[in-house]
């Protein structure tokens, strides 16, 4: 699937990533039609969260 990936400060890219799988009995896999980031993601986008790693998927 494609996903919105954090690749660095102010560097977001749509990348091809492995499909999500059911890991726990109560997990759900949902198909989404579009994605974006919201105001709370701006802290991640601007690099204020030190535990962000390249490749982290933002949003759903």
């Amino acid at each position: 699937m494609r996903a919105n990936c954090w690749n660095g400060i102010t560097d977001l890219r749509i990348e091809e990533v492995p499909d999500p799988r059911i890991l726990n009995p109560r997990d759900v896999v949902i198909r989404i039609s579009s994605t974006a980031i919201c105001g709370s993601d701006l802290h991640l986008y601007d690099g204020f969260i030190p535990t962000m790693m390249k490749g982290d998927i933002l949003g759903p």
């Binding site: 492995p18 799988r21 890991l23 726990n24 790693m53 390249k54 490749g55």
Partner: protein
């Protein structure tokens, strides 16, 4: 809403509808914040004093080096005194702000030694100033003696595992959290000690020996590992569990957890109190290596995981979920390794 009398509504102090009804909670139920703060020990206070002394002397030397120089018999050495002042301020700042005070106390000792060396070589030939230099020598010598005593006391306590230890090598933990289960359910979950390693991160495993005694194995983020036997001392179903490590354990550890009904009969307040003292002997592992730098934060996260576990049956995490391409550094961390989904896809493709 003022004027609306509803007997089911939880009461609080100052509630206009319950004037006269409100009863202060019994002393044993008071919030921990009402209790007096732990008194600072002699070592902690003397460390504070030395810290402020350092900062005071350092500021004087930094801001008025000529006046200080005249006072101690080194009138020509403004630059040197400024440097000494800066060093003193650094020592003082370290002493007052850092949890582990030992290296900063020893830095003061080294600074005093440097000062003594400087004073001995003061070149002033005049008599009055020479007298001042000797006086300064005496004062620095006395301060050095105090610093050495404090450092030795500090270091010795670290190896003894004695009483209150300056420098964060003893941990007091007090945390509370409200959980949407009854006190009886929370008690039952906690009393089954096999559940504890699921939410207490530093606890690697518990082996139950009998009704009261169990063996705890703790593994810290620094890779250090400590084991000890723990005994349950208080066991009141639905109310309280208290435990402590047995005599002769490498780590002195005591703790208690209290389960109180939350206001309005909605849930349970879990109050966790824990106290650790480091292992005996210089070869023992430092508590910071075991607990990380923030025992209270660790305990808070432990309680949050307990809440997630008892309310939902699982601890939410993003581990194992999909991710984009990791950096080479990221691939070294546990979070960065290929997600389970990715591994499954790779296996299918090959």
């Amino acid at each position: 809403m003022a004027g609306h009398h509803d007997p089911e509504r939880p009461r609080f102090a100052g509630d206009p509808d319950s004037a006269g009804d409100y009863q202060a909670p019994a002393p044993e139920n008071l919030r921990l914040s009402y209790l007096p703060r732990r008194e600072r020990s002699f070592d902690e206070r003397s460390g504070d004093t030395l810290g402020w002394l350092s900062i005071g002397l350092g500021l004087a030397a930094l801001l008025a080096p000529r006046a200080v120089g005249k006072a101690i018999g080194l009138p020509e050495h403004s630059g040197l005194l400024r440097a000494v002042g800066a060093r003193e301020i650094a020592s003082g700042a370290g002493l007052l702000t850092q949890r582990d005070r030992t290296p900063w106390l020893w830095s003061r000792v080294i600074g005093d030694a440097m000062d003594l060396a400087l004073d001995r070589h003061s070149p002033s030939p005049q008599q009055p100033l020479r007298g001042r230099a000797v006086g300064a020598l005496a004062v620095v010598g006395a301060v050095a003696a105090i610093d050495i005593a404090a450092s030795l006391r500090q270091s010795r306590r670290r190896s003894d595992g004695g009483e209150v230890i300056v420098g964060g090598h003893e941990a007091f933990v007090e945390q509370a959290l409200i959980i949407n289960k009854s006190p009886q359910e929370c008690y039952a979950y906690w009393r089954d000690l096999a559940h504890l390693p699921a939410f207490i991160r530093t606890l690697h495993s518990i082996t139950i020996k009998d009704d009261r005694v169990s063996r705890w194995v703790m593994k810290g983020p620094g890779g250090a590992s400590v084991e000890w036997d723990s005994e349950i001392t208080v066991d009141r179903p639905g109310e309280r569990i208290a435990w402590h490590s047995l005599e002769g354990s490498t780590v002195t550890h005591a703790g208690s957890v209290r389960f109180e009904p939350a206001p309005g009969g909605r849930g349970c307040i879990v109050r966790l109190l824990m106290h650790y003292r480091p292992p005996m002997g210089r070869a023992g592992v430092g508590l910071a290596k075991l607990m990380g730098r923030d025992p209270n934060g660790e305990a808070r996260e432990d309680l949050r995981r307990f809440k997630a576990l008892i309310e939902t049956g699982e601890i939410p995490t993003t581990r194992g979920q999909s991710s984009g391409q990791r950096s080479w550094l990221g691939r070294l961390t546990p979070e960065g390794r290929k997600s389970r989904a990715g591994r499954i896809l790779e296996e299918r493709a090959s």
